[in-house]
Every structure is written in C-alpha cells, then in structure tokens.
C-alpha cells in the first residue's frame, strides 16, 4: 500500500469510524465479503489439482521409502500396463500417500499393517521382502491371497479367518480407487473430455423384447 493510501485509510478507518457506527459495520462488511469468498471449496474457486502429483522432486510424506517402493510394485501388479497405462504411470502410490497422510491413525495403521502382511508372507515363504522377489514369485504370492478361501468340502467345516485375502482386498480397493479416479483411469474406462453426451435414450427396443 502506498503511503498516501495508508493515510487516507487511517483517516477514514479511524476517525470516521468513531463518529459513525454505520461506517464501522460497512468496513466489517468488507472483511466479511473476503471471508465469504474464502468459504468456497478449492474446486468452486476453479483450482485444478490434476498435476500436483506430477512434480519432479516428489517425495512421500506418509510412506517410507521401502513402503513406497513396495506399493509401486504391488499397484502395478494389480493394475498393470496393458494396451493402456497401469497404476504406476497413474501415480497411484503418490495419491495413496497423499490421502493416507491425512487419514485417521487407525486407518493408517490398518493400511501399513496390510502392506506389512504381504512382506511378512514374502519373508516366510521366500526369505525376502516382496519388492525384491522375482516377478514369478511375486505373482505366486499374490495368487495365494487374491481369492477367498472356501471351507472343507469333506467335513463341511467353515473356512477360518482369511487375513491374506482381507489384506489383499483392502489394498486392492485403495489401488482401484486411486487408479480409476485418475485421469489415466478415466481414459481407461473410455471417458472422453465432454461433460455431456446428449439426451438419455434408455431402452429403444420394441415393447416386450426383454424377457
């Protein structure tokens, strides 16, 4: 603010406000307007955060280096690049790191517990951490967790606790959400950039064709 403006502001803001309560509330009104503006969400202010995860010197804030590398490998196994990009290219690990950093302690613990479970199984079966296994061993290990256990077909005994499947499913859900809400993920599903696609046409088959 220039000196002259400062002077004018102090005259009007100080002396005049003391004279008339009306002006004081007009001033408060101006502050109020500014406060109101800050009540918009970033999206309502037009903030586009799509490139925020793409920064060159990105570092995880929640995961440690080992957890981050493990997550990159795991996510790219669960949603690999095919004829379309996979989880690694969609920076799934970076999004999960951002969201988990702001999660409740309980959810953070559960997420890290699930990652650790995979490493634990990897150590038990292959004497090495998951990220250092061969691609073939990684695949074998994940397949041992990827489907739910059934009970006994001989005795009818129900399947017991299934921590492998539970851990796998929870991690897969995180990875799926991170991937399919990314720009790459939306393209994978075929979504174009148009926000509207005409009038909903619904069923255009002849009456009685669905049986």
């Amino acid at each position: 603010m220039k000196r002259r403006e400062m002077l004018r502001a102090s005259v009007l803001g100080g002396a005049a406000a003391a004279l008339t309560p009306g002006l004081a509330s007009a001033k408060q009104g101006a502050t109020a307007k500014a406060e109101e503006k800050s009540e918009l969400t970033p999206a309502q202010r037009g903030v586009d955060a799509s490139d925020e995860l793409k920064v060159a010197n990105w570092k995880p804030v929640f995961l440690d280096e080992h957890q981050n590398e493990t997550l990159i490998i795991l996510s790219d196994l669960i949603i690999p690049a095919t004829d379309t990009p996979g989880a690694k290219e969609a920076l799934v690990n970076r999004y999960i790191d951002l969201v988990m950093a702001a999660e409740t302690h309980e959810n953070q613990k559960s997420f890290l517990g699930n990652l650790a479970y995979i490493d634990g199984e990897s150590m038990r079966k292959y004497k090495n951490s998951f990220r250092y296994l061969s691609r073939e061993d990684q695949d074998d290990l994940l397949h041992s967790m990827a489907y739910p256990l059934a009970g006994s077909t001989w005795t009818g005994e129900a399947a017991g606790a299934d921590p492998g499947f539970t851990s796998f499913e929870q991690l897969k859900t995180h990875i799926g959400v991170a991937y399919y809400t990314s720009q790459i993920g939306m393209k994978e599903l075929g979504r174009d950039d148009n926000f509207t696609h005409g009038v909903y046409q619904g069923c255009d088959h002849a009456e009685g064709s669905h049986k």
């Binding site: 669960i78 994940l142 509207t196 619904g202």
Partner: protein
C-alpha cells in the same frame, strides 16, 4: 454527510412479511407474497451462491484429494454422511463444529443442513411425489393417530401451481396411492428397468414407473432442458433442476418488493405482549456477530422443520414460557423422518449390454409406489402404512471384480448389469420423538442448540424387513441373480426428510398450526415447511411442503387484502 448516510439500510423499514429461510418453501413464500405486492424481507442464514461456483462439470481428477479431502472429515463429520456433501461443494453444508446439536447417547440422529441462499434446494434429490387421501386420511382407515386437517382436494390446485412452475418430469400411472400431476415428458427407462416393470406388473400387479423429478425435460422460464451431465448436487449452470435461488427467489427479487438479507442467523421471534402479535425477528450477523432486528407485520418461518421449531422454542416470553405458540405443548413433538435401509439388489444376466463411460447420465431413477395397505389389497398382518422404492438398473463397471492384473482390469471394463431398489418407509408420528432446547449447548452465534430425541419403532423396522423380502421377490421375478437383501433400519435423519414438530390441526389444544399454517396462538406468525406435517406418508416430501406453502400464502394474501393480519 451523504458519504455516511445509509438511507437504504434494509433494517430501518417495517415489512409486510418477514420470511425466514430461502430454501424450497421460503423461496415460494417470498415469490408469492412479493408478487402479490407485499413488501417482503427474505432472511437467509448463509451467503449467496453464484453459478460461477458450480462444479458439476469438474472431473474428480482435478480435485486434490479426489473427494477424500480430510477437511470434510474434520469440519463436517456429520454432514459427510450425506452423499451430496463432497470435496466439490462441502462448504455449502454447515460446519458441524459451528452448528452443534445433541442427542441422547442411545438415540443417534444425523442432521444434514445447508446454510446458503437456496438451502437444501441446491443439493436435494429432486424426487417429487404427491400425497393422496390414503395419506391425509390414514388415521380414519387404520386408527393410528389423527387425520390431517386438509384433504387431497384442498391441496390439489396448489400441487398444480407448484408442479407447473417447478417443472416435474414424470409419467401418469393412474395409481391409487400416488396421484398423477402436471408432468413434463418422462425420462426414459433402461432395458433392465423395463424388464422389471413388465415382470412386476405381470406377477404382482404393481406399478414400476420412471421417477418423478424436479428436472426439466423441456425448457421453460429461461431454464434449459437437462443436458444429462449427472451430478445435480454440485449446481447446474443451465438451471435445469429446480433450486430456489434461480427460480422463486429470483422472481421475488424481480418483483421489486423483496429484499434478500443474507448471513442473517435468526435467533428468535420478537413479540408485542400487549397485542399478542409478532413484531419481527432478531438475528445475528453471521460474519460480524452483530445482533440486529428486522420488523414486519407477519413472520413466516420456512427455516426447515427443526430450525423453524428451534426458533419458536428459543422465543420464550412470559406468556409463552415453553416456547412461542406452544400453548398446546405439542411444539417439538411428533418428529418424523422416513425410515430407510430396506431393499434388494442383484444382477440381470441376460441384458447383453456393456457399461459406457460416455452415456448420458440420467439424474433420476425408477419409482415403485406404495402397494402395502392400499384400499385394494389385504391389510398387512404386522405393520400399518407402507413404503415406496427408488432404484435403477444399468450396465456398470465392475470395480468389485475378483483377482488382479490384466484379468481384473478387463473384468472392470466388461462390467455387469446391476439392478437395485431401496425403500423409503412411513415414519409414524409419535409424541416421544421430539426436539427440545439443549440447556447448555450453543452454536457459534450464541444461539441455544437443539437436543434431538428420536428412534424408529417396531412398525418402521417391520416395514424395512418387508421391503427387503418384497424387493428380493420382485427382482427375482425379473430374473435377477446374486440377489442380496438389505433389511436395516437406518439411523433417523438419514432420509433427510425431517417432518413434524409443529403439526397442523383443527384443535388448538393438540396442534400448533391451523390448516393454513398460522400458529393457533399468534395471529401473524406462521410456519410454512415440513414442520407442519401431521404424518410423513412415504413419499419424498418437498413437493407437498411447497404446495402447502403456496396454499398458506394464498390465504395470507387474502387476509392482507382485508386488513386481517
């Protein structure tokens, strides 16, 4: 002194009418009264909203947290229980830290509120159904509680007015439980929904119809027909769904007779004890915390059922020590909210349709009107009243597909055809479901907060169990597989259809309002919103609230003409 003159200060005048709240009903009250030539002050607790802040076309990947913003969990832990409270628009919803309420520990209640111009009409579900005399006269048929003091014939002309202006897309069905109305062309049904409709009609004789929604399928009043982008709750640049700021409130302002005062958090109604008349309201400026007063010849509360009653409960005088207009003692009682949690879902195996990310997104679903305890069927053995279903069927991406890798990625894209219906059941009016002023808790503006005591009872539970079983049976008739039932009784408040607490009635000893929404006790004080409902029926209530408001205003305008206010 011209620099310091505030001749236009809206608070120096005495208005004909003060309308508190700018949502679905407040907007209508402001429009009807100001267009009739009355001078109206429309008070809104929040700020104005402009189309520049609408985010309906913003894709999720542009959001920093893609709808997992931790700020929502921090400041809106209750509001986020509503699907419409998202990273896009969460500041439209109240900050729970600033707007507390209490409940008994064993009676959780979720209360979702917006404090911006237009209120919940910005994010509402838009489903719009008439009540019938099976609802207005339900007590005469089954003996529970009392009839409404008005009948369908009293309200029908006002339903017509509201529907024509709001714009309701829908199809006439001639159903005995669900009167038809003034409809714009119906939206289309999907193949799976058509299949369900035909099979349910053939096997059960029940109606499955396209939803009746407050969304334009033809342009009117400068509003465009829906362009099927999908998420109405983030705002609509073409004003295709009905929300008050861009329709009723805009009309009121254009009349030249309506002054909109935003950021006015109303604390209580002011009374002149000598004449037993309301003189206006006292409010706190939301931003500056200044306490201000606005004067009027009539005061009309349209603040939403619980908020309107809260204002009355906070307006005690020597004559009304238990809350203004509460000589009956009924104020605060008979709180209702539709019961939800019953329904069924499954897959239709023979639809041969793949999900399409670029399909027009229909902001509407299907509706199955109430069929239980209708005049033409045998009475249900273990419950009274009934429920209606909302639902939809479509090919969708299968994010829950099993396995991983290229197999999983492909299965997601191949998708599956799912269909589901969820019930909204009648919530019986009960004296012991009530609100009162919490003796210690206050909101951020120092206004005493509510204590809400409500549970769903055995009848509501039985309705949801029946809705699960009937839902499964109907989906099964359509050939659905992998059917799953839901027979829950969700926490009260979850339907966001709060009703009652200032019921209308002919008997001033047992009700708060007259059949024209005037308080029995104070001649120039009115409540025109869901608080006035006698029973909840099971239909989404906003359409009926608006019709009741227009009817109440018509009466009030007559009274102004004969100087009887």
């Amino acid at each position: 002194m011209s620099l310091f003159s505030f001749a236009d200060d809206p608070l120096t005048k005495t208005y004909d009418a003060i309308v508190v709240g700018s949502g679905a009903t407040g907007g209508w009250a402001a429009k009807q009264l100001s267009e009739a030539g009355l001078k109206v002050a429309l008070l809104e607790a929040g700020r104005a909203v402009t189309p520049a802040e609408f985010t309906e076309h913003t894709p999720a990947y542009k959001l920093k947290y893609r709808d997992h913003d931790p700020e929502i969990a921090r400041t809106r832990p209750i509001q986020k229980q509503c699907y419409a409270c998202m990273e896009y628009n969460y500041t439209w919803f109240v900050n729970d830290l600033e707007n507390p309420y209490s409940t008994p520990e064993d009676k959780p209640f979720t209360w979702q509120r917006l404090r911006v111009l237009g209120g919940r009409s910005l994010v509402w579900g838009r489903q719009s159904y008439r009540l019938s005399d099976n609802d207005f006269k339900a007590a005469s048929r089954d003996g529970y509680d009392v009839d409404w003091p008005i009948s369908y014939a009293d309200l029908a002309p006002f339903y017509d007015i509201v529907e024509k202006y709001v714009g309701i897309t829908g199809a006439a069905e001639g159903n005995e439980m669900l009167p038809d109305g003034q409809f714009l062309p119906p939206m289309k049904m999907s193949c799976g929904e058509i299949l369900l409709r035909d099979k349910v009609k053939a096997k059960f004789g029940r109606t499955v119809t396209i939803g009746r929604a407050a969304v334009l399928t033809k342009a009117q009043n400068g509003r465009s027909a829906c362009h099927y982008c999908g998420p109405c709750e983030r705002g609509c640049r073409t004003f295709s769904y009905f929300s008050s700021p861009f329709t009723t409130v805009a009309d009121a302002q254009n009349s030249g007779n309506c002054t909109v005062i935003t950021n006015a958090v109303v604390a209580h109604v002011n009374m002149d004890n000598g004449s037993n008349k309301a003189t206006g309201v006292t409010f706190v400026d939301r931003m500056t915390r200044e306490v201000k007063e606005v004067r009027g010849k009539a005061v009309i509360l349209c603040a939403q059922a619980l908020e309107s009653t809260r204002i009355l409960l906070n307006s005690t005088t020597r004559e009304y020590p238990n809350g203004l207009a509460n000589s009956s003692g009924a104020l605060g009682h008979y709180l209702m909210d539709h019961v939800t949690g019953g329904g069924a879902g499954g897959e239709l195996p023979n639809m041969n349709e793949k999900p399409n990310a670029n399909e027009p997104d229909r902001p509407n679903g299907i509706y199955i009107p109430r069929f239980r305890n209708s005049p033409s069927v045998k009475k249900s053995a273990n419950f009274i009243r009934g429920y209606g279903y909302q639902g939809s069927g479509d090919a969708v991406f299968n994010f829950g597909a099993g396995g991983y890798g290229a197999v999983y990625k492909n299965a997601v894209k191949q998708g599956h055809y799912t269909i589901g219906i969820g019930a909204f059941g009648e919530s019986l009016a009960r004296w012991d479901n009530y609100i009162e002023i919490d003796k210690t808790l206050k909101d951020a503006w120092g206004i005493p907060a509510l204590r809400i005591s409500m549970t769903h009872g055995d009848n509501e539970k039985a309705l949801m169990e029946d809705a699960a079983a009937q839902g499964a049976e109907m989906l099964e008739a359509a050939g659905a597989i992998n059917i799953k039932m839901q027979a829950r009784t969700e926490m009260p408040g979850m339907a966001i259809h709060e009703l009652g607490t200032a019921r209308m009635g002919n008997d001033p000893k047992k009700s708060v309002l007259t059949p024209f929404n005037q308080t029995h006790d104070v001649k120039n004080l009115f409540v025109m919103d869901g608080a006035s409902f006698v029973s909840s029926a099971c239909q989404n209530p906003t359409l009926t609230m608006m019709a009741i408001t227009v009817r109440g205003c018509a009466k009030l305008i007559e009274r102004f003409k004969t100087n009887d206010v």
